[in-house]
């Protein structure tokens, strides 16, 4: 791609912002119930919650869903780009370093506890639901954060973090978490098992804004910190030594990337479960459209990833079975992964000649 000019930079960002806004405006229209958008929107905006008609309530639910999908998709795509740059591996995803597995293990523990806790069964329904939600999100975050801490302790070296150490520790911890999850599943009742399975598929069908807001204090600062590293990632991609020779503090950049990327991913997983492949598909597709430079790639990933997941969710919820969106992204992601693999093999083949 030709060198990035100021003009192309801003035009591209403008186009992506426009596409994201259009997605936000259009996707709430779709769902199992038809909706008179403008009337419902005015009511949603001007009336207090208690006076809402069914239409406004429906719109509110869809807006929650849209916000969750947008934030989750954008975060996963940005973390994917950042991890691919830090690990210098095009196949890295936000889940490569084991944070999602830790989060899933935490959530599983919460399901076990909630299912067997007398207090939760005796509490009034809405209170029990809220308690269960906070318990699940809290446990998922706790699981993810402890995995993150263990991986950091294993991978840190004299000069910062060893990326090979990160990869090895991440993959190993993922396996350990999976083993623990298998044990928990064996120990649980069919009812719990069903909830666990459903959660693992991932879905953005949050019931209220209350599911999203507790995560924002973790999510937004982490994302902001990742986005302002953009130009340093371009240097890091070419190797730690070259980056250091250009004045990049490599150890600090790696730490910021690892911690912010892991925390943001943990927050997303706590809300929507481990939705797969967004962090892989979106960065690769966008590199082909906007080029490899991170100062454009990262913000486009935030906007494009958000819009992509929002659209996927809309498609998933208008299917007759109302699929969980994680199932849809996985069905798209698997073949895409294969396509990447075949293409890179073809390139290797060409270079051998």
């Amino acid at each position: 791609m030709a060198l990035l000019t100021q003009r192309r930079y801003f035009l591209t960002l403008l186009a992506f912002a426009g596409a994201a806004l259009a997605t936000m405006a259009i996707t709430p229209r779709f769902g199992s119930e038809p909706l008179a958008m403008s009337a419902a929107f005015i009511e949603w905006l001007t009336h207090p919650r208690q006076e809402w008609s069914i239409a406004a309530l429906t719109l509110d639910l869809r807006l929650v869903r849209l916000a969750v999908a947008f934030l989750a998709g954008g975060t996963l795509a940005v973390c994917g780009v950042a991890f691919q740059a830090m690990l210098r591996n095009p196949l890295a995803t936000p889940y490569t370093l084991g944070v999602a597995s830790g989060g899933a293990l935490g959530a599983y523990c919460a399901f076990m506890f909630a299912g067997s806790s007398l207090m939760l069964t005796l509490a009034p329904d809405d209170m029990a639901a809220a308690l269960t939600q906070y318990l699940r999100q809290g446990a998922s975050l706790a699981g993810a954060f402890s995995t993150m801490a263990v991986i950091y302790l294993l991978a840190r070296s004299r000069s910062g973090i060893s990326t090979m150490g990160l990869l090895l520790a991440g993959v190993t911890l993922s396996l350990i978490c999976s083993a623990a999850m298998m044990f928990l599943r064996y120990m649980s009742t069919p009812d719990m098992l069903m909830r666990m399975e459903r959660w693992l598929m991932g879905g953005v069908d949050a019931g209220s804004w209350g599911e999203l807001t507790p995560m924002l204090p973790v999510l937004l600062p982490s994302m902001a910190l990742l986005l302002i590293q953009a130009r340093r990632y371009d240097q890091l991609v070419f190797g730690e030594e070259l980056a250091a020779g250009r004045g990049v503090n490599v150890a600090r950049l790696q730490k910021i990337t690892f911690f912010c990327g892991s925390m943001a991913t943990a927050a997303v997983v706590a809300v929507v479960g481990p939705i797969g492949f967004i962090g892989l598909i979106v960065p690769h597709a966008l590199r082909r459209i906007v080029g490899p430079e991170h100062r454009l790639l990262l913000p486009c990933a935030a906007l494009g990833g958000g819009a992509f997941l929002a659209i996927c969710d809309t498609i998933a919820r208008i299917t007759p079975a109302e699929l969980p969106v994680g199932v849809l992204t996985a069905m798209l992601g698997g073949p895409f992964f294969l396509f990447l693999l075949i293409r890179s093999r073809a390139q290797w083949g060409a270079r051998m000649q």
Partner: protein
């Protein structure tokens, strides 16, 4: 401008010294070659000079101030470093790769000015890489990639150019092109420091050679002083003969295998 090491040493693990007691000065207008056998500390010395690593003992100073006391972007405008191997994972074009060399000179948003574009073009012209400008770096051969990388280091426009085996992947013709270019930079007032494997190439182009052996500075001086059979044979092992080049009168180094001198 003066880059100097003062008893500098480095240990990758405590107690295991890769480099020790190196004292040397590097001045603008000179071209220095760092030579020595594998594992003698050549690359380590270059990393210390480039502030990629901090010396475990002793000091390295730029204009009398320790490297760590300089701001990192200011340092990168003074000292450019080219590592031995670089493998990008994403499809940057050659032009984009060279443009990344301007990093220490750009503002927060990283937009290129007319002057930056001129420097990028100039660097590509000098390294004979202009023809690849739009091609992805991944598509090139090893030697072509090395030249693009060199262009990106040149685009950094630093006074001190530190290069770790810049000609290792190049063919004979481009080896000489690149070394001639580097020598020309040193004549124009830059300071060039290269780690060199090829002693003959180093002898031909460098004003001064530093011979390292097992982390120590064995000898420093002009090619004729450093490259003698008595010095090289114990350092490299084996029987080394130093002849005089029939055309240039410079030292010509060959290794005598057992077969040759029996």
């Amino acid at each position: 401008m003066l880059l100097e090491t003062d008893g500098a040493g480095y240990a990758y693990q405590p107690g295991r010294w890769a480099l020790r007691g190196i004292t040397a000065r590097f001045e603008p207008g000179t071209m220095t070659g760092i030579i020595g056998p594998n594992g003698s500390g050549k690359s380590t010395l270059l990393r210390l000079l480039a502030s990629i690593r901090t010396p475990s003992e002793g000091a390295i100073r730029l204009n009398g101030k320790r490297l760590r006391e300089h701001k990192s972007d200011a340092l990168a405008r003074s000292i450019a470093f080219m590592p031995q191997t670089v493998t990008p994972v994403c499809a940057y074009s050659c032009e984009e790769t060279v443009a990344l060399g301007r990093y220490p000179h750009l503002g927060a948003m990283g937009f290129l000015t007319q002057n930056d574009l001129k420097q990028i073009r100039e660097a590509m012209l000098q390294t004979d890489t202009l023809e690849f400008a739009e091609r992805p770096l991944d598509d090139l051969s090893g030697g072509e990639r090395q030249r693009v990388l060199l262009a990106s280091v040149l685009a950094q426009q630093a006074e001190f150019l530190l290069l770790d085996e810049p000609t290792s992947a190049l063919d004979l013709h481009h080896q000489h092109e690149v070394m001639t270019l580097l020598r020309q930079f040193s004549r124009n007032g830059q300071c060039v420091i290269v780690v060199a494997h090829d002693l003959n190439l180093a002898a031909q182009f460098c004003d001064r050679l530093l011979l390292l052996s097992a982390g120590r500075l064995e000898a420093a001086g002009a090619a004729e002083e450093v490259l003698t059979a008595e010095r090289l044979s114990p350092v490299y092992g084996g029987q080394i003969a130093v002849l005089e080049h029939p055309l240039t009168r410079q030292p010509l180094i060959t290794v005598l295998s057992k077969k040759t001198y029996e």
